[in-house]
């Protein structure tokens, strides 16, 4: 009886998938009772996700959730891609090497001798999801859209690129970027490669522009088909599921999986159970403890990398007592139980942090020693130096990230021994964002990632007014000088520059205001029937390169 | 004026209508009535004849839509307007309804019957209350042990007697009984009627006895009022009415009783 039910279920699901596929090609819901002879190659994937994206357009989005990142990555593509390398069966991003995506694969761009002009050579015969051919004008218009009011802006490069006039369309397939200055801290290429660098189909978007909305942002947030990426959205049922359909004209080749059904399963444990029982092929956004639980399941493989880029970031806000005293800040960082957090909260799915600079940056010889370790005696001594024996701390955390909440609770439990009475203040994401922006917290713990793995980009996190500068760091003369000399020393990957970056890392660690306390491993689990697990700058799964194992 | 003052109840053109417009129903047609302490008035009529409404108007449970009711010359409305005079009126006129739900299911009879003693007669000492309750129980042939019971734990006859007890402990000048025996067995009916008759005589109370059964009314009262569809069709002494009925309805009523010597209706 049991088996019959199960088998019936499988047949039913199979039939439903067939129905869904046929339903995509022919809009009408025909009652074709096609036999489920899916013994051939598997071309569809079922994915368990935590939520659905809220917007299909980064430029019109007011929320950068992981689901949104995933969707932008699947429906759009930019001029460049990072090169990748295979590491333990995981396709890992190499943040320092690029290849052409919409630009020519082998010769994507040329740089002028003075380093101030980047000329991109576009691939020919590329068409968008809507079928319009790619031209240099698409690129120019897309960048202009980003620089406009409705766009996300390209603030990271505004020192040398902030005006559409700096672009020059040379011919249909060539476009040049004239920068104000050149420098070793150039993050133009990473910015054009990541989420902010997507290129849009101008012709398609302009069809939906209105006088009120000249960039068609309003339409684009709810519709796809105006990008050049591997997938388009074929249907979405609010709060339940979204179905992606492969773009057969995708410039890097049609994906092996033509249909991706993303089902909303809000509970992490259920998602993990589903992937381990074979109910779904991929489960995203799993809690570390759930990853650990299903790690040994015969059906599951989990990506683990040497240098993860997602981190938990502890900020002790400098303008709030008692953290206006550097000694107290250092004492607190000595009272954080790093190993305990990695073991207990992350079940080993995290690595220790040596600070802001990670191995992926390819800075030669950078120290991998943890920035701080749990040392109660040292913490007490430092507190005594600051003239204190016990300190009350309110640690604010967003309540929608359970591992951050647990880490905060654990910090509270262990910092007590060093004389810190920690109150964990759990806030809704909205209240947390508001408090963080207004710098009204005394200390906070937040999950974050650096999508652009250039040492100089870290400066971004310490700019006054930047929402990421949650420790309220004010750049000092010493800081500016350190950065200037590091940039002057040569490319980041050079031996000459390395000691300067090490100094900057030490400076930040010693300042003890805002430091990643650990780096988290990827949070997806895949069926063993798949190859090409990914670990990318945006931590999303690259469904376009995923393939069946045999 | 002095004429009106001596009567416990004076009804002048008292009538009652329900509803408005097309749905207007006349329950009691305007009537005059004088009730004194030595009057024993029986009111008889079929269901819906307005006799209960009349009784309820006399104690303020219903408001007449026309006419005035006065007690010792003072309008009922005034009596009921202040707390003190309201209590005084309750001391003078008491009303007993058909029992079925006239006791709070959560209260014991002791609690229920002692309330009017405390509130209306100002008896405070527990011993005094006890002795008065025992006395009235004795008079009504009730076992005092039943005082600790709740309404659902005794028989209908006992409950009816407790209802009487609750009114009689007040020692009112006028007792209005509304269908007090209709729901009882015939054997019990007789006993209860006897109790009422004896008590009223002993304490010189006025009595208005509303019923739809002729025998009970003729047994207990000396005067009779016959009502039909809100209208008083016949009034006079029992002897007059029974021997010389003028209205056809009264004749019909008497004939019916004559043919079946003892016929008892169930509930209304």
């Amino acid at each position: 009886m049991r088996k019959i039910t199960k088998a019936g279920g499988v047949v039913a699901i199979g039939a439903a998938i067939v129905l869904a596929v046929t339903g995509c090609t022919s809009a009408g819901n025909s009652n074709s009772n096609s036999n489920s002879n899916s013994a051939t190659k598997k071309t569809s994937l079922t994915v368990a996700v935590a939520a659905l994206p809220t917007s299909f357009d980064l430029d019109g989005a007011f929320g950068a959730s992981n689901e949104n990142y995933t969707m932008w990555s699947q429906t759009q593509i930019g001029l460049l891609n990072y090169k990748t390398k295979l590491e333990n069966g995981v396709v890992v991003t190499d943040f320092t090497h690029f290849e052409g995506a919409l630009a020519d694969k082998d010769n994507p761009y040329t740089v002028s001798d003075d380093g101030q002009t980047y000329t991109f050579h576009l691939r020919k015969d590329v068409v968008s999801q809507a079928g319009n051919p790619l031209t240099a004008e698409d690129v120019r218009w897309s960048i202009e859209r980003k620089l406009s009011d409705g766009g996300v802006g390209l603030t990271q490069v505004k020192a040398y690129f902030n005006n559409p006039d700096q672009m020059e369309v040379i011919d249909d397939h060539t476009i040049a970027f004239h920068l104000h200055n050149a420098g070793n801290d150039n993050v133009l290429l990473p910015v054009l490669t990541g989420q902010t660098g997507r290129i849009y189909d101008k012709v398609e978007l302009l069809k939906h522009a209105t006088p009120d909305d000249p960039w068609a942002v309003k339409w684009a947030t709810q519709n796809t088909g105006w990008g050049f990426g591997p997938y388009t959205v074929s249907s979405m049922t609010q709060g339940q599921q979204i179905v992606l359909k492969a773009n057969p004209k995708y410039v890097l080749g049609e994906p092996a999986f033509r249909t991706i059904t993303m089902k909303v399963v809000p509970d992490s444990g259920t998602r993990a159970q589903l992937v381990s029982s074979g109910g779904v092929d991929v489960a995203e956004a799993l809690a570390p403890a759930d990853l650990a639980t299903i790690a040994k399941s015969p059906k599951v493989q989990e990506p683990k990398v040497k240098n993860p880029i997602e981190f938990i970031d502890l900020s002790l806000v400098q303008n709030k007592a008692p953290f206006d005293d550097k000694t107290v800040r250092q004492a607190f960082f000595n009272a954080v139980p790093y190993k305990e957090i990695i073991d207990k909260v992350y079940s080993g799915f995290a690595v220790e942090s040596s600070g802001w600079f990670t191995g992926t940056m390819n800075v030669p010889g950078l120290s991998t020693k943890p920035a701080y370790t749990y040392d109660v005696d040292k913490a007490k001594k430092l507190l005594a130096q600051a003239g204190k024996s016990s300190v009350d701390v309110t640690l604010s955390v967003p309540n929608n990230v359970p591992d951050v909440v647990d880490a905060a609770i654990l910090i509270g439990s262990f910092a007590k021994k060093a004389g810190f009475n920690v109150t964990v203040n759990q806030l809704s994401p909205a209240d947390f964002a508001t408090g963080r922006l207004n710098h009204s917290f005394q200390s906070l713990l937040v999950a974050n990632r650096v999508q652009i793995q250039y040492p100089s980009f870290v400066n971004n996190f310490f700019l006054p007014g930047d929402p990421s500068n949650s420790g309220d760091f004010q750049p000092t003369a010493e800081w500016n000088e350190l950065f200037a000399s590091a940039a002057a020393a040569g490319p980041q990957t050079s031996k000459e520059a390395a000691p300067y970056w090490q100094k900057i890392n030490d400076f930040i660690n010693d300042d003890a205001s805002q430091i990643p306390i650990l780096y988290k491993q990827p949070n997806q689990a895949y069926s063993k029937d798949l190859v090409n697990m990914t670990y990318r700058y945006d931590s999303t799964v690259d469904y376009s390169i995923l393939k069946p194992a045999r | 004026m002095s004429d009106a003052e001596q009567f416990i109840l004076t009804l002048d053109g008292v009538g009652k209508e329900y509803g408005r417009g097309r749905h207007r129903v006349t329950a009691v047609q305007p009537l005059d009535l004088r009730v004194d302490a030595d009057v024993e008035l029986g009111v008889i009529g079929e269901s819906g004849s307005g006799k209960s409404t009349l009784a309820r108007m006399m104690v303020g449970l219903e408001t007449p839509s026309s006419g005035t009711i006065a007690c010792n010359g003072r309008p009922l409305r005034e009596w009921l307007s202040t707390r003190a005079s309201r209590l005084e009126y309750r001391r003078r006129v008491q009303y007993v309804a058909q029992d079925t739900t006239s006791f709070d299911p959560r209260q014991t009879f002791y609690d229920a019957v002692s309330v009017p003693l405390r509130l209306l007669r100002g008896v405070r000492s527990e011993r005094e209350i006890r002795s008065r309750l025992d006395a009235i129980a004795d008079e009504l042939s009730l076992d005092p042990a039943l005082y600790s019971r709740q309404p659902h734990q005794v028989s209908g006859g006992q409950r009816q007697r407790f209802a009487l007890a609750r009114s009689l402990v007040v020692e009112p000048q006028l007792l209005i009984c509304d269908e007090v025996v209709s729901a009882l067995d015939v054997s019990v009916q007789g006993a209860v009627l006897n109790l009422i008759k004896r008590h009223v005589a002993e304490h010189h109370m006025g009595l208005i006895f509303v019923a739809h059964g002729l025998p009970a009314v003729t047994f207990i009262s000396s005067n009779l009022m016959v009502m039909r569809q809100g209208e008083v069709v016949e009034r006079g002494t029992v002897a007059d009415v029974v021997t010389r009925p003028r209205h056809p309805y009264t004749q019909e009523l008497l004939a019916a009783y004559a043919s079946s010597s003892q016929k008892e209706g169930g509930r209304q």
């Binding site: 509970d267 992490s268 444990g269 259920t270 159970q273 809690a287 403890a289 759930d290 639980t293 299903i294 305990e340 207990k344 909260v345 079940s347 309540n399 359970p402 909440v405 647990d406 609770i409 654990l410 509270g412 439990s413 007590k416 964990v424 203040n425 759990q426 806030l427 809704s428 947390f432 | 104690v59 449970l61 707390r83 309201r86 209590l87 309750r90 309804a97 739900t101 006791f103 709070d104 959560r106 014991t108 609690d111 229920a112 309330v115 009017p116 405390r118 509130l119 209306l120 007669r121 100002g122 008896v123 405070r124 600790s148 019971r149 659902h152 734990q153 209802a163 609750r166 009114s167 007040v170």
Partner: protein, 306 residues
């Protein structure tokens, strides 16, 4: 009387012969007393500190940790025991507040809404406000109230009471509408009772049944709302041991076979609510006894003399 109808002798057996009834009623409060005792004696009973990480995380139940450990290595047994404190503190306060408040407001609405004048207006207005509040999902109402008052235990109590008082209000109102037709109210009037006294002595005791049966429901709901508010970030602050938060944070691992972080606090909720339910059922039975006492101590005769 045919067999399928309830036997009235059963009701007779429970009849409050005074002393027996009192003893019975007192016995009914033993489970409630147990829950309260656990809450009060938590520091004595609990083997570990409830807010300190004492072992590896997610350990299954063992002789050292009977209920296992949670996501950060805290002892679940200790946390469950301490959780009784929060639950009792909030649950009892909210249940009592909203039941008493609900019965009073519901009686007022039921008695006044069809009358004219200021009282009727007030009654109808209250009834309408109650309908609005009832229609807002509890959690949203909680968020708004706590958002406005600022996060504190007092704000939480007010918020949850506001959510939960509506049920007793409506239940009592419906009962009052029924009871006020009863003829014993007329009898009471004729016996000289004022309408205020009648409302207190007759209407309320005879209308509280549904509200009383609803009381354990309030306790359960209180725990749930408290947990939901905690989940949204304005409830009791973690790591304070609170059952609802423990359940919601332990739920996720249930499907994967890690049942202990959620099941033990859930069982604690279940048992304590059952205990409360059992005890609360005794309250209507206690009422007449209490009423008698009150009457003895406060003879009405004094009023009558005036």
């Amino acid at each position: 009387m045919s067999a399928q109808f309830p036997d009235q002798t059963a009701a007779l057996a429970v009849a409050p012969r005074r002393t027996g009834g009192t003893i019975r009623a007192v016995f009914a409060f033993v489970p409630l007393a147990l829950v309260v005792a656990i809450a009060v004696l938590a520091p004595v009973i609990a083997p570990y500190d409830p807010v300190t990480s004492v072992a590896a995380s997610r350990l299954p139940p063992s002789p050292e940790h009977w209920f296992g450990t949670d996501a950060v290595g805290m002892d679940i047994l200790s946390r469950t025991i301490y959780g009784a404190r929060i639950a009792v503190q909030f649950g009892v306060i909210v249940a009592v507040l909203s039941t008493i408040g609900g019965v009073l407001i519901g009686t007022f609405i039921g008695l006044s809404e069809s009358s004219s004048g200021v009282l009727g207006l007030l009654g109808r207005g209250l009834n309408q406000i109650s309908s609005y509040l009832l229609a807002i999902p509890d959690v949203i109402l909680g968020i708004v109230v706590v958002g406005i008052m600022g996060s504190s235990d007092f704000a939480l109590t007010v918020a949850i009471t506001l959510c939960l008082v509506q049920a007793p209000v409506k239940l009592t109102r419906v009962e009052v509408l029924r009871v006020r037709r009863e003829s014993y109210l007329e009898s009471a009037k004729l016996a000289g009772e004022s309408s205020f006294r009648a409302a207190l002595v007759h209407v309320m005791p005879n209308s509280i049944g549904p509200a009383m049966r609803n009381m354990p429901l309030i306790f359960g709901n209180c725990v749930i709302i408290l947990a939901s508010l905690g989940f949204i970030g304005i409830g009791v602050k973690a790591p304070t041991p609170e059952w609802g938060y423990m359940i919601s944070s332990g739920l996720s691992s249930l499907v994967l076979g890690r049942w202990w972080p959620a099941v033990f606090p859930a069982a604690a909720v279940l048992l304590s609510v059952l205990a409360i339910a059992y005890s609360s059922r005794a309250i209507p039975r206690m009422w007449p006894l209490l009423a008698v006492r009150v009457k003895r101590w406060n003879p009405i005769g004094r009023k009558a003399r005036a």
